[in-house]
């Protein structure tokens, strides 16, 4: 089939303001939107910039907004967008645009680093592995799927209004260590997110959960953090 792609274009170095450009592309129903973007770049317009790497939903590079919804271009198939008259592709909202579909992710990664995304295991290092029950490990099953694509953060209505809000993905990474039975800094971690811009900033809009390409129950995870704060700190 032949599709129309209407793509957000902006080069802050030369453009005074953003514009949209329309491209026609032939594609199979089972192809990925990423395939279409590549075809546009390779065959029609090499000036179009976007990030990509693994091409099958594990690296998180090619998160964009497709027909108003944040998603990975490599996980969105042509047949899922073909019903639209024109497929609208835009950069992730709430982020500063560096060029076309490429946004500045540094503030996002800064927030991930802020939650101290590493295990603090205490001084005693056993010779073999630390034991962890299968049930304890299971608590991390869903959150370790996070690939830091930032779709959740870009979709969050709170983030859109308050850039100090930690945001869904960094909270998911906080959850990952708060609920790891091997970590020794649970209280400190809980205190760090026990703020209006931390866990309490979440207003249960569920947009993050709706868009997460890895199907992580993001909002629910944040609510677990809130419950744990009540239980441990109050």
């Amino acid at each position: 089939m032949e599709l129309s792609f209407k793509i957000f274009r902006y080069d802050p170095q030369v453009d005074r303001e953003p514009r949209y450009e329309v491209y026609r592309v032939r594609a199979e129903a089972t192809e990925r939107v990423l395939d279409c973007l590549n075809r546009i770049k390779w065959e029609q317009d090499g000036s179009l910039s976007f990030r990509m790497s693994c091409g099958h939903g594990v690296c998180g590079s090619d998160a964009v907004r497709i027909n108003g919804r944040c998603a990975l271009a490599c996980q969105t198939l042509v047949k899922d967008v073909a019903q639209a008259e024109e497929v609208l592709v835009e950069p992730l909202p709430s982020f500063r645009v560096l060029k076309d579909l490429v946004v500045d992710l540094e503030p996002f990664f800064e927030k991930v680093r802020w939650v101290q995304p590493y295990l603090v295991g205490g001084n005693h290092v056993p010779e073999k592995e630390r034991l962890q029950s299968a049930e304890e490990r299971k608590k991390l099953d869903q959150v370790i799927r996070c690939i830091l694509c930032a779709c959740c953060v870009a979709s969050c209505p709170v983030t859109a209004e308050n850039d100090r809000f930690l945001g869904p993905a960094p909270l998911v990474w906080a959850f990952r260590y708060i609920f790891d039975s091997r970590d020794r800094e649970k209280e400190k971690r809980l205190r760090a997110v026990d703020t209006q811009d931390g866990a309490w900033g979440c207003r249960n809009h569920f947009e993050c959960t709706r868009v997460c390409p890895k199907e992580i129950p993001v909002t629910k995870s944040i609510n677990f953090i809130k419950r744990e704060i009540e239980k441990v700190l109050r």
């Binding site: 099958h56 690296c59 992710l105 990664f109 073999k128 592995e129 490990r137």
Partner: protein
């Protein structure tokens, strides 16, 4: 473009996959380290590794590092350097415990120990029967180790330069003293002046059309080493993973067969019983890939087409959800198939490069005479230790990355403090500026994507699972023609400075075209079949003439070949049957 960005560090690590990050963790405490990466660290291709990491922990059944070493040697069809395989197998348990201590969320047994599962070529008692040796976190083991090592780097305050491509090595009087890198955000050329450079730039599966590799796997570091006249080793050995999703090449982990999945042909027959009676679907990857190609060639592909079925329907929804959830989701998304109900169409996909930058056991890159090149290290898939020989076993890759990434880091910590800083040549980045200017000045000709597509097709067709002299020679002619076209007529559609991915792909294409040629030349020189290198015209392994590593290097403009002996310590070569 003309402003100079100069950075001075003790060590520059290029690449932020598992090998680069593990080396960074090791050196961050003792040296001033800069990490350059083409992508953000959590987006490196190590994150796509699914199945697990091998270590004879013996958590589920008796196992020993010697069996692991034997499997590694046999898996590599006796081209594996046995001193390297011994280091790998002996250090494996320590390496996995270390990852656990760093926080990797491995799946667990009911008694709380790390869970393990079966994988291709992992056996007990030197080949007797499959053994559970793969430590795993569902089917995203690579991703969680990547995230964990990244966290360790955050904790150590490591300085990362993301979205910079290394475009040249700075070499002065045979000493490597830095790299030149291009910043994608601005197109600025950066000079990194260092006492030592560690290349951890990964594989180059993008030489082939059907591959499980990411777009970034273009072998930039390997290409630069070759361009400076240093040797590459065993470049003919390219692993095709038996189970790529049909048409796409996206990987379906060997863990699927480790958990009990079965390959079937159009008659529903479990055909691996005929090819590997002892361990069937869990034979080494080259063996299974050839079996699938045979089935297809003999008309037993599904509906007579070029794929077979991977049947997981008997595993049950619960086990699929717990242990194979990512691949279940890939299959649902890309094929619209529920693997609990329907088999998955699969075909071999280019997955891993056994060859690369020749190194010693400490990650030091070696010259043609086998002497360490001052200031140059390599680790991970871009390096050839050679621990994988002619064919890598599943789960030995992640292990290789953390074992040899650490060893390279240790060696740098020991040596770099006493090393002198070689002065930077005044015109260090001049060649790069000229190369970039040349690429940017042409306004018509052929687009990089066109040449890349032709390269990938040719390599796939004539240098895939099966090869022959005439095919390799034809391909060589084609690839050299493409190189010529590249030199004389490649042009960029976009000559701007911001995120010029057009320029990026043109630079990467130069790597791919060169490495394609190097693979073909190496493959044509090895007139035998061994591991992943399978010659239709020379179907037998020939230890008399070819039990040696291939070296390939550039002398002026000419490609030269050499050999290097294989280290054989414990296990004498014998026929390889599974």
């Amino acid at each position: 473009m003309s402003e100079r960005y100069l950075h001075t560090h003790d060590v520059v690590i290029v690449g932020s996959g598992l090998a680069g990050l593990r080396a960074a963790v090791e050196t961050a405490g003792c040296l001033d380290v800069a990490l350059i990466s083409k992508v953000f660290p959590t987006r490196s291709h190590s994150g796509a590794a699914q199945g697990g990491i091998a270590a004879a922990l013996g958590n589920e059944e008796p196992d020993s590092w010697e069996w692991h070493m034997f499997d590694t040697v046999k898996g590599g069809d006796y081209l594996t350097d046995q001193d390297a395989a011994e280091v790998l197998a002996r250090d494996a348990a320590r390496a996995v415990y270390e990852l656990e201590h760093m926080g990797v969320p491995f799946n667990r047994n009911p008694n709380g120990t790390i869970a393990q599962r079966a994988f291709g070529g992992h056996t007990r008692h030197f080949g007797e029967a499959p053994v559970k040796r793969a430590c795993y976190a569902a089917d995203r083991t690579g991703r969680v180790i990547l995230d964990t090592l990244y966290g360790q780097c955050v904790q150590r305050g490591l300085h990362v330069y993301p979205e910079l491509s290394v475009v040249d090595l700075v070499v002065r009087d045979g000493i490597v003293c830095g790299v030149i890198a291009l910043d994608w955000a601005t197109a600025a050329v950066h000079v990194f002046h260092a006492k030592a450079v560690l290349l951890a730039t990964g594989g180059f599966g993008k030489v082939f059309k059907t591959t499980s590799n990411c777009f970034a796997n273009t072998g930039d570091g390997v290409f630069l080493v070759y361009r400076h006249g240093f040797p590459l080793q065993d470049m003919e050995f390219v692993q095709f993973h038996p189970t790529g999703i049909y048409g796409l090449g996206v990987l379906i982990s060997e863990a699927a067969r480790g958990e009990g999945g079965v390959l079937r042909n159009r008659h529903g027959e479990r055909f691996m019983e005929r090819y590997a009676p002892t361990i069937k679907d869990l034979a080494a990857r080259d063996v299974v890939s050839r079996a699938i190609m045979k089935e297809i060639q003999e008309g037993r592909g599904i509906d007579g087409r070029d794929f077979v079925h991977l049947d997981l329907t008997h595993l049950g929804r619960e086990r699929l959800a717990e242990r194979l959830s990512d691949i279940s989701s890939f299959v649902r998304i890309y094929l619209g198939i529920d693997p609990a109900h329907a088999p998955i169409p699969v075909q071999p996909t280019c997955h891993y490069m056994m060859g690369g930058i020749s190194t010693d056991l400490h990650g030091r890159a070696l010259d043609v005479q086998g002497r360490p090149i001052p200031g140059l290290y390599a680790a991970g898939e871009c390096a050839c230790v050679s621990v994988h020989g002619a064919n890598r076993l599943g789960c030995n890759s992640l292990l290789d990355l953390v074992v040899f990434g650490r060893r390279a880091g240790q060696d740098m910590c020991a040596r770099v403090p006493t090393m002198d800083r070689s002065p930077l040549p005044a015109d260090a980045e001049e060649a790069t500026r000229e190369r970039l200017a040349r690429l940017r000045e042409r306004t018509q000709g052929v687009r990089p994507a066109v040449l890349r597509e032709r390269l990938q097709r040719e390599m796939m067709e004539r240098c895939g699972v099966y090869r022959s002299q005439s095919g390799l020679e034809k391909a060589l002619e084609t690839v050299r023609g493409l190189q010529e076209e590249y030199r004389h007529s490649v042009y960029l559609d976009y000559r701007g400075d911001r995120y010029n991915t057009d320029l990026m792909e043109a630079l990467e294409l130069e790597s791919l075209l060169t490495l394609g040629e190097v693979i073909l030349v190496s493959a044509a020189s090895r007139r035998e079949s061994r591991g992943a290198h399978s010659r239709e015209d020379f179907p037998q392994r020939d230890d008399h003439n070819f039990l040696h590593h291939t070296l390939v290097y550039r002398d002026e403009e000419k490609i030269r070949l050499g050999t290097k002996p294989v280290s054989i310590t414990r296990f004498q070569p014998k026929p390889r049957v599974y």
